[in-house]
Structures are given as structure tokens and as C-alpha cells.
Amino acid sequence: MAETTAPYGRKTQKEPAVKEVHVLWSPDGLGCDGDTIAVTAATQPSIEDIIMGAIPGLPKVHLHNRVLDYSQGGDEYMKVWHAAAEGRLDAPFVLVIEGSIPNEDIKAEGYWAAMGNDPRTGEPITLNTWIDRLAPKAFAVVAAGTCAAYGGIHAMAGNPTGCMGLADYLGWDFRTQTGLPIVNVPGCPVQPDNMTETLLYLLYEAAGLAPMIPLDEQLRPTWLFGKTVHEGCDRAGYYEQADFAREYGSPKCLVKVGCWGPVVNCNVTKRGWMGGIGGCPNVGGICIACTMPGFPDKFMPFMDEPPGASISSLAIGAYGRVIRGLRAMTNDTVNKEPKWRHRGRDLTTGYHPSTYGNGSAATPARR
């Protein structure tokens, strides 16, 4: 808008700094492929918008994802992964990991998660090996969904695989060659447009058309996760009047029947699930905090009233400021993962294996 003198018919589309980018998307962690499926629901932008170049300024995008690939799989599919690992890829790549990262060190042999085979030995290659090989070479590393970001459901207390989030695995201070931290897009599954929008941002960044992606302490894009569920909820009017649902199916505020909205960072109440439709508290579903580092353990049992909810509701209005303080405190706690999601040879989830063949003594779970 500053260039008032721009002539009619000028070229508005700058050539991107890079012509092509590969997106290597592995849904092979301990997950459910739900984030891959979710992106097929996105419309802002849609997956075809990105792949077919419907958005100005984008480099040509080559998506490599097991679920959506044209090939029949096997070597034809894996060749690009091997090429990237060996530094032979012809263009920069974004690595997307979906599913939580198992701890392969807690047992003597076998694998928890694998993708393809080693051409020399015929043994399965673990996802962890792929991450070790690819992350240092990637332009950007993205954790798609809560499992990959923080561990999620598969990392709950008592789990037998010792799994964790990508940042727990690579280190929270991990930086790519280009100086980018891991980018977490949590959600179980990820809200479709949140995922494609983040990818779009990174592609713009790769193309030299956007500055460093703004991330918060939990490595989430700030413009998507800066507000709470409660701040976007259309039931907040009931909350303000302390008018609470006592049963499911009521249009009132759900905090007494389990909603965690006040302390959860997520934009789904504002954005809806897809095309503005659906969501959680706004359509009658309690917020179970599926985007949070503390998910699921710190929020279970989900159907109970969250601790502090009644204090909050009594205090509504008059003590607004105090409540905001309390909220920040709770929000801090739930923005931290449970202690058992870590690397190393010890399994501390509370599961006691006698069959892992390494004689490792597991220590009890702490919350």
C-alpha cells in the first residue's frame, strides 16, 4: 500500500528465494495418523492449494506422506527419505513428525516404531534413527499434533514404551541449521487449518517472504495458541453469570461438568473445527485440554469438575483479578509435561516390564 506509484500490471509476485521445497511428513511415531487425515480437512489453505501452487509466492511443494503418496510404497516411497538423510536431496526440506517418539533404549531388542528397512541389513529402521539423521539437515522441524509435540495420549502414566515429545527427544534448545527451534502445532488431532497455516508460514519463511516464525515457550505459533479456549468460548456469558450446566446437552457453561477451557491454550472455540463448524465447549463438548503439554494426565478424569473451578465461579466478578492470578498459576502447571517423558534407559512411567530383556528396574511414576 506504501507504493502508491505501482503501475497497473506490475508483477506482484516476487520470485521465491527457493524454487522448490520438500515436505517430508512421517506419521510413523506412536500416533494414529489423525493429523495427516486432519490436513485433508483443511481449507485455509487446503492441501491442494499448497500442492498445486494456488497461493502466490510459494515455492513448488513436494509432499512426501505415506498416506497421500502416489507410489505403491517401499523403495519408491523411501528413496526420498534416504536421499534426505544422506544429504542428496535437491532442495531444502521441512521435516514433519507425527506421533510420539518412543524410547527405544529401555529394552534389549526389537522396536516400538519403525519406517522402512535398512537396505543393508533388512532390519526395520526405527523412527528415532530417522529423526537423528534428518533433523540436523532439515530447514524446519515440525511436530504435528500433541503426541509429537509433547507425548500426548500414548505417553500417559503407565505406558510401556516410555514415549515423549519431539522436543523431549531432540532437546528443547534444538535448533535447525537455519536456527529455527522445533515448531509445535499441538491438538489431538491438530485443528486442520492450524496445521496448514503453520506449514504455509514456514514455506513463506523458506521463500524469504516472512520473518522468523513467532513461537511461545512451549514452541507453539503465538498467533494460534496465545489465547485460551475460554476467551473464545461463546458460553462465557453463562460463565460470567455463574449459570452452569449440571448435565451434558445443556447450552450453558460446562465448567462444572469438566471443561478445562479457562486454563487451556487453543483457538478451536474461535475458529471452529472446520469451515467454522464444530468445536468443543461451544458445541457441547467439555474441553479436555488436548493441546496441552500436561495432556492427558493432568486433566484426568476428564468428566470431573476441574479443581479450582468452583472457587473461580464463586469469585466471579468481584475477584476477577485474583482469579486471573490463580489461572496463570494453573495454566503454568498444565503447560508442563509430566516428569516421566524423557530419554535414557529407565522407564519411569509406572509400568514394570519383566519382558524387556535388559533387567532395567523401572521406577514408580510421579505426577
Binding site: 510413523d28 500416533g31 494414529c32 495418523d33 489423525g34 487425515i37 486432519a38 485433508t40 480437512a41 481449507t43 487446503s46 491442494e48 498445486m52 505415506r66 498416506v67 497421500l68 502416489y70 505403491q72 510404497g73 517401499g74 523403495d75 516411497y77 529394552k107 531388542e109 526389537g110 516400538w112 516404531a113 519403525a114 519406517m115 522402512g116 528397512n117 541389513t121 500426548g152 495420549i153 500417559m156 503407565g158 510401556p160 514404551t161 488431532p189 448435565e247 451434558y248 446437552g249 460446562l254 471452529g272 473445527w273 463448524i277 464444530g278 468445536g279 458445541v283 457441547g284 463438548g285 467439555i286 488436548c290 492427558p296 484426568m300 478424569p301 468428566m303 512411567t349 509400568y351 530383556g357
Partner: protein, 598 residues
Amino acid sequence: MATVTQPRTGTGTDNRQLVEMSWDPITRIVGSLGIYTKIDFANKQVAECHSTSSIFRGYSVFMKGKDPRDAHFITSRICGICGDNHATCAVYAQNMAFGIKTPPMGEWIVNLGEAAEYMFDHNIFQDNLVGVDYCERMVKETNPKVWDKAQKTAAPNANIHKYRTIADIMTALNPFTGEFYREALVMSRLTREMFCLMEGRHVHPSTLYPGGVGTVPTQQLFTDYLVRLMKYIEFMKKVVPLHDDLFDFFYEALPGYEEVGRRRVLLGCWGAFNDPDVVDYQYRHMNEWGKAMYVTPGVIVDGKVVTHDLVDINLNIRILLGSSYYEDWEDKGKFVKVDPLGNPVDIRHPWNQTTTPKPQKRDFNGNYTWVMSPRWYDKRTGDYLALDTGGGPIARFWSTALAGLVDIGYIKATGTSVKIYLPKTASLPDVEFEWKIPKWSNAIERNRARTYFQAYAAAAALYFVERAMKEVHAGNTRTWADFKVPDDTYGCGFHEAVRGVLSHHVVIRDGKIANYHPYPPTPWNANPRDVYGTPGPYEDAVQNTPIFEENGPDDFKGVDIMRTVRSFDPCLPCGVHMYTGNGKLVEVRHTPMFGAHK
């Protein structure tokens, strides 16, 4: 494939030129699946096949000790494309365990959500994942002669779907550039919006609870659903004839194609869509409310019904080991000795199963997979049947057709077929489709049933919307019933996940989950050889599948094998491995890319 070990079962000692080929992981399915084949190129046939999985997550392990009310939230995360089927099935099991009867409006909303899931999932899988195996690019690369013929073959239903030749249909299926591929993708969003209206979000619902749903039922809610449904119905009026044209063409262009993926008719269906007038979730009445479902449960062997009784179905489920990475539990105690009707419950039944993972090296002579081998015990013969789901629809139709029970205005089961009536839509008149029991349980018929079932789900949804609207008009808007969790109890849920049978078995002790075992369709389909040596359904269906692909070993794509595997709609981390028979391994190749690795 240097690690391939000696085969443990052989197909003979002949000196056939067997070439081993692998695809690991397989693309265009949900979950990590690998295929290892041994192909006899001279005789154009697959020689042998084994099946294995590549991840373990441990739901049955980490659910122990958790609050049983959380089960549906947790188990939804088992699957990223049909998680809501798990959530629903878990709720059914919770309802039984907690002694709940859901208000009718709650049931209609669940039925509408699940119908939208079938409409969405079959659509995206069929037209964006399976369809690629039948698209122009793939057919040109694998069967140029078939492509030539397709260009000369007029599509019989061209007046309805507007694609003049079969080749035009194939071109429309090309990924991303194909017109129909993109139309299907857009439709898959419309149906997911319908899903979100009912269950909040896709794929892990936010509004499902034991006792009903949190969705607020209003005139607006059902209207928003209905207008989208009618668009989908219009779409189906073109899609069914389009797929009929495409699939019929394959039989015509490649005589003998009925043998691809063919297997003995051994089908299981656990029933879908409860009738709120009948279901009370009491085990004692399970036979009655099971038969009232709008998709009839049943076990079909060699085209004949063995049972439609859910109690019978339940009691004869057996979980076998044989090739899986787990400890056995025969010596552990039983959680449930007899069912509420006094029938004994076997130690190998999911209620009594104990899951103890034992990670180990993949050994094709021993254990090679994370999948166990579910079987159905046929007490008439003493066989442990390796039932398959055929990817869901074929088994649902077969069971529903033979039972002849469903009759709801838009759908009628006749005893030999299922009739589906779709009313007038914006630009197309009303139509009747009829799914008839096919001659074979094979790749093409599994796929065809998938298309017809999309129409079935839409027709059922029309009926459910009408019933739900009636409740709104009558002021019956309660969607949820309160309950208490008993300290010691157990329950089971039966449902159809999109790709086939789904059961959840829960045992509760001291108010906490003591045992939880979900059995989704893929373990039924993708399992390995069991302790009796019976191969799982993929292994069985791929073995002896004839090869029609024109490419030789150097540029072989394996499209006939892939069409077989994808016809089952695989959806879990699992894999298929194939071995040589006793014949000497001649050559080992991965999928041919730039020639072959040796």
C-alpha cells in the same frame, strides 16, 4: 532383504522362478504396513505371504487403573481416521457396564454422527487412496493394454456421471489433477462438517459421553445436517454408477480378474446404528437389540449365516498368539468366568486377556508382528475361523441382506439383496440402487460394496434425521442420562468401525479399569499365522492372487497385490511379509526403482 529367514511353511518344492519383492511401508493406507512378496513371474502368480506390524503403543497396558469414564476419550486416539467409531464403541461398553439407557435423542445424534463418518471415510479412502490404483497414470504404467481398451470403451452410465469413456473416469481419478479426485476431496469435507455438527470435531469427538451426548439438539442443528446430506446424496447418484462402470470394466478387460484378492467367504459384521426403541444396553437383551440394529450383525461362512446373535458372536471370539511379540496369558486368572446369562467365558476371550508386550527381533520363523490373531470359534466344526471384514461394507451388506430385517423406508433388506432408495435432489430424480450378493469375496466386490455402502449410510441418515426432527418437534431434547460407576462390573460394546468389526471389552474393579481390550477390524484382517498355522486374511488373500500387471520383474509395481490389500481398507500399523516356498530363493528385490537393489 538380506534378513529374510527360511520359510516355515512351503508351497512346494518345485523349481519355480520365484522373486521376492517388498513394499515397506505401503502408501495410501492409514498405518504402517509392509508387504513382502514372493512372486512366480513365469506363472504370473503370488507364491506366499506373511503379515507383520511395525508399531506398538500399548492401550491395553496404559488404560489399566484409569477412570472407566475416560475410556472413550482415550480409545478414540487408537485411530486417526475412525477414532469416533472407537469412542462410540467404548460408550456402548460403558453404557452396559454402568447400566445406562441413553435418551432416544442421544442415540439419533450418535447414529447421525456415525453415518457421516461412513460417508466421509469410505469416500476419501475409495476415491483418494484406492482410486489411485485405478487412475490413468497407474493403469498406463501397469497395464497399457487395459488403458488402450479403456479409451475405446464407452462408459455405460455416461449419461448420469458425464464421463464418456472408462478412460475419462480413470483420468478423473488422477491424484490432485483429476477432476473427480478433487471433487471427492471436497465432498469428504462436507461430510466431516456433518460429523462435526453432531460430534463436535473430527476425528476425536468432543461431545460423546457414557449416557449420551453433549450436543444441543435444535431445529437448526438437523437442518444444517440435512442440507449437506442432500448434496451428498446427489453426489452418490453419480458415484455409484461411475464405480459400477469402472469395476465392471476390469472384469471385462482382464478376464479372470475375479481371482484377484479372492478368498473363501468368511465374513464378520458386528452391527451398527442402535435402535433407541429397543436398545437398553443390557447384556441379557443383547440378542434382541443386536437384531434391531440398522446394520445387522452376523457371521457368514461360505455364503451362509452361522449366527446373527451378538451373544453368540461375543462368546466365540478367541485371541490367539502364534507369531506375535507377546507373552501368553493362559496361566493368568480369568476376570470373567461366566457371562450374565451364565455361559462360560473362555480364557482366550478379550475379557480374560492379559496383554504383556515382549519386544524382540523380527524373526520370520518365529514371531514377526505386533498384531495378535483374533479368530472366531465355530462350534459346529471346532474350527478357529480367520474371519475377515472385507474392509467393512461387503460383510455388512452380506449379513444385512441375508437377515432380511432392516426395513426403514429408504432401505430394505430382501434376503438376497439390499435395496437403497434415494429421493429427488436438486438436479437429479429419485433413484433406487440394489446391492446384490456377489459371486465372490474378492478385491473388486469389496470395493464395489464400499461405494454402495456410502449410499446406504446416506439413506440411513435420512431416516435418522426424520426421527430426530420428530423428537425436537415433540420437545424431547434430552440427550444424556446420568449414571453412577459401579465398583465391580464389566461390559462390552459392538459396533462397525468404517473398515469392519469393532468390539471393546472392559472389566472394572474398585471403580477403575482392570482390563480393557479393543478389537478393531485391522487385527482381524492383518494378523499373522496363528498357533494352528492358519494364515491371516491378507496373507490368505494375497497368496495365489494372479498377476495381471504387464510389467516384468524389472519395473513391477505390484498393482494387483496392492489392489488386494487396499480392498480390505487397512488401517492400523501392521504389515505383510512374504516368503519363498521350499523352492530356492532365486533373487531378492525391493520394489523396483531405478532397476532393483540386490
